[in-house]
């Protein structure tokens, strides 16, 4: 495969598409499928055939605004239809070449205009199971460019200059990580893609793997070239069977086209990828636990150093990157580091994908430039809290993050500012809570999660989270004491300082952040035996003796 052949495939796809006057794109992501987009696509295909019009019905990955699903977008007019039922197929096909169907049409310009799509640029536009669709949108150009025009060092230099940081949540500079693995001397190195999106309430990586699988594969191949790896693994949650299917298809097609395997694109570079299934353990998102799991063992983390970059999978230097980080690689190589670092602010460059869920009008997947304020995301893109309720908090970073209150909504989204606010960037879950959510109950929910997901290897995490859970349960049932609050803070400190891995070190964050911003709710539970949100079941107040 060379650049001319690649261009030829793109030309062929364009010529094929020109045979059609209209493209009807149907979102086939989980949220839309759960509302019947499968039957809808069949109905559209049938109606299109019967109409005699030249219509291409294409299934695509996530278009974004899931709450309006099932979504259909008609190109080239870019008309977006929402909540489309199979029975609407006839009307949509009949309207082609005429005025759009008004009852189904939706105007989400405000929703989309404030976004900036880099990672998600193909999702909703390509059939994820067709490699040619991906190639027609500049796919694999970056790999070819890296292999034929750049040295591995050039690639690492480019990434360093782009200031891309790990999108798994911690924000480690990607270029620096790649450089460390590249410098490690070894005959065998690995590249691992972390697709174990265990953070409940987040589905960005699932949508990327399902909607644009080749983006991830291309990123991995470029990474392997840069660090000198010959073998790669994608570690995917078993709970994501569709992602596994799409990646399997993607791997097969990429091998057939010569983007994976021996002598990729007629160069000396050889690299192949295998899929490894997770089995439902949150701790396996931690890199050393993930590696243990790939090796077929229990997901117990190991003390670092040595870091996986020097001694990882089977003791060999291993580069581990999150799905979204890898999905950023190809566009950076294609368009350059200046283009990338022109987006974002301060030390947080580029864009970030968030899964916007909870009590918000437009739930779904959004991609925004770093530095945007939380208010712009929640009130602008998300459409605010529905049903006349009032906003209370937004939770980022999942069980490792914290709850950010109303008064901090003008905070810019950067790695540093979120940490300052007591939360973390995390992998991208953003859960909005309104006045019907009890913050003590939410803290208890997260601690219960961490308690049951603790691998049990180190005591602070194993026993500490259990103690915190007991105390929080006591407070939620109206049996707490004011001393409990100090005890909680004390425990949080111990667990943070002394746990072995990220799970334990960050587990106290939901408790600390709710104590910081919603202390009155804790006090209300303890002193007045009352849950302000009416969530906790507290027995009628009883007289407490002295």
């Amino acid at each position: 495969m060379n650049i001319e052949e690649l261009e030829q495939i793109a030309v062929n796809v364009r010529q094929e598409n020109e045979k059609y006057d209209y493209e009807v794109n149907v979102c086939m992501d989980l949220a839309c499928v759960s509302q019947g987009s499968d039957q809808l696509r069949e109905a559209l295909a049938k109606a299109a055939e019967a109409s005699g019009k030249r219509v291409l019905v294409r299934r695509t990955g996530c278009m974004g605004p899931c709450s309006s699903g099932p979504l259909v977008r008609v190109d080239p007019e870019e008309v977006l239809y929402r909540r489309v039922k199979a029975s609407d197929a006839g009307a949509i096909v009949a309207s082609l070449g005429d005025e759009p169907v008004p009852s189904l049409q939706c105007d989400l310009r405000e929703h989309f205009d404030r976004q900036m799509r880099v990672v998600l640029e193909n999702a909703g536009h390509i059939d994820p199971e067709k490699i040619d669709d991906y190639i027609a949108r500049d796919g694999y150009k970056a790999l070819l460019k890296a292999l034929t025009e750049m040295t591995p060092n050039d690639v690492i230099q480019l990434l360093t200059e782009s200031e891309l940081r790990g999108r798994g949540g911690a924000g480690y500079p990607t270029g620096l990580k790649w450089g460390t693995v590249a410098k490690a001397g070894s005959d065998l190195k690995y590249v691992v893609c972390n697709g174990d999106e265990g953070d409940p309430g987040a589905f960005m990586d699932r949508s990327v793997m399902e909607g644009d699988p080749h983006r991830v594969l291309e990123g991995m191949a470029i990474a392997a070239y840069a660090v000198g790896a010959s073998k790669g693994y994608i570690y995917v949650r078993a709970e994501y069977p569709v992602a596994v299917d799409r990646l399997t298809t993607g791997l097969r097609e990429a091998r057939r086209k010569g983007f994976l395997g021996n002598n990729i694109c007629n160069t000396h570079f050889s690299f192949d990828i295998e899929i490894r299934l997770g089995a439902g353990a949150f701790v396996c998102g931690e890199e050393t636990a993930l590696l243990a799991s790939i090796e077929g063992r229990r997901g117990n983390p190991k003390p670092r150093p040595p870091y996986p970059a020097l001694s990882g999978l089977w003791g060999k230097p291993t580069l581990i990157n999150n799905v979204e980080t890898l999905a950023n690689i190809a566009p950076i190589v294609r368009k350059g580091s200046e283009w990338y670092s022109s987006m974002g602010v301060g030390r947080s460059k580029g864009t970030k994908v968030f899964a916007l869920t909870g009590k918000i009008a437009n739930t779904g997947l959004v991609e925004v430039p770093m530095g945007i304020t939380l208010r712009q995301i929640i009130e602008g893109i998300g459409g605010g809290v529905p049903d006349g309720h009032s906003f209370k908090a937004v939770q980022t970073g999942g069980p490792s993050g914290g709850c950010i209150p109303n008064e901090l909504l003008d905070l810019q989204v950067t790695y540093e500012s979120l940490v300052q606010a007591g939360s973390i960037m995390g992998s991208g879950g953003m859960i909005v809570m309104d006045d019907t959510s009890c913050m003590v109950n939410v803290a208890r929910f997260f601690i219960e999660f961490c308690m049951s997901e603790s691998c049990g290897k180190c005591i602070p995490c194993r026993a500490g989270t259990a103690q915190m859970f007991t105390i929080l349960t006591r407070i939620c049932s109206g049996q707490g004491h004011m001393d409990d609050l100090d005890l909680l803070v004390d425990l949080c400190g111990t667990i943070k300082e002394t746990s072995l891995c990220g799970l334990g070190q960050t587990a106290p964050n939901p408790v600390l952040s709710t104590l910081r911003y919603f202390r009155t709710e804790y006090v209300e539970h303890i002193l007045n035996k009352r849950c302000p949100a009416g969530v906790c079941a507290i027995e009628a107040p009883v007289e407490v003796l002295a």
Binding site: L30, S34, S67, P200, F203, A279, G296, T357
Partner: protein, 165 residues
């Protein structure tokens, strides 16, 4: 060193051949333990002692380690599933939108706790930590079919449909 001979298949049930296939594909390497247990679970529905023993012996993994892995990961079940399975998602987005109430209603209706199967082995009730359909919370998966924005009534209706079948 004498060549290792994998143990004979536990029975002539064809599903063991599928399990063996996964191990052979991985050259009977120890790291194939989790992959193989996945195949056992997808073929038999759960992992029983015989299966874990067979896989451990075939891959030359200590029994303790195989059992350790089987119990460490939530995805593996050591009990046979019911004829139907209802999975209620208790991920954060679903929890915020009241999935704990759905779970409580299902538990009361079936008279079992989450993680259990009804006495007649008809319906198993399990919780998920997030199925990734958060935008449609609260989410319930009935025999693999994902449904969003579920209410208590819809959960009970589904359970009754299975009983009436």
């Amino acid at each position: 060193m004498s060549a290792f001979t994998p143990p004979a298949l536990p029975s002539d049930d064809k599903r063991w051949k599928i399990v063996n296939g996964t191990m052979r594909k991985n050259g009977f390497a120890r790291y194939a333990l989790i992959e193989t247990l996945h195949t056992v679970q997808s073929s038999f529905g759960y992992l029983d002692d015989d299966a874990i023993r067979f896989v451990a012996l075939s891959l030359r993994v200590p029994l303790s380690q195989a059992y350790g892995v089987a119990t460490f990961y939530h995805y593996f079940s050591l009990k046979p599933p019911g004829k139907h399975t209802m999975t209620i998602c208790l991920g954060t987005a679903c929890y915020i939108k009241g999935s704990a109430k759905l779970m409580a209603e299902a538990e009361t209706h079936l008279g079992i706790a989450q993680g259990e199967t009804t006495k007649d082995k008809l319906i198993g009730l399990v919780q998920a930590r997030c199925v990734g359909a958060c935008s449609r919370a609260p989410v319930v998966v009935s025999d693999g079919e994902v449904a969003g924005e579920m209410t208590g009534e819809q959960v009970i209706e589904q359970l009754e449909r299975w009983v009436a079948e």
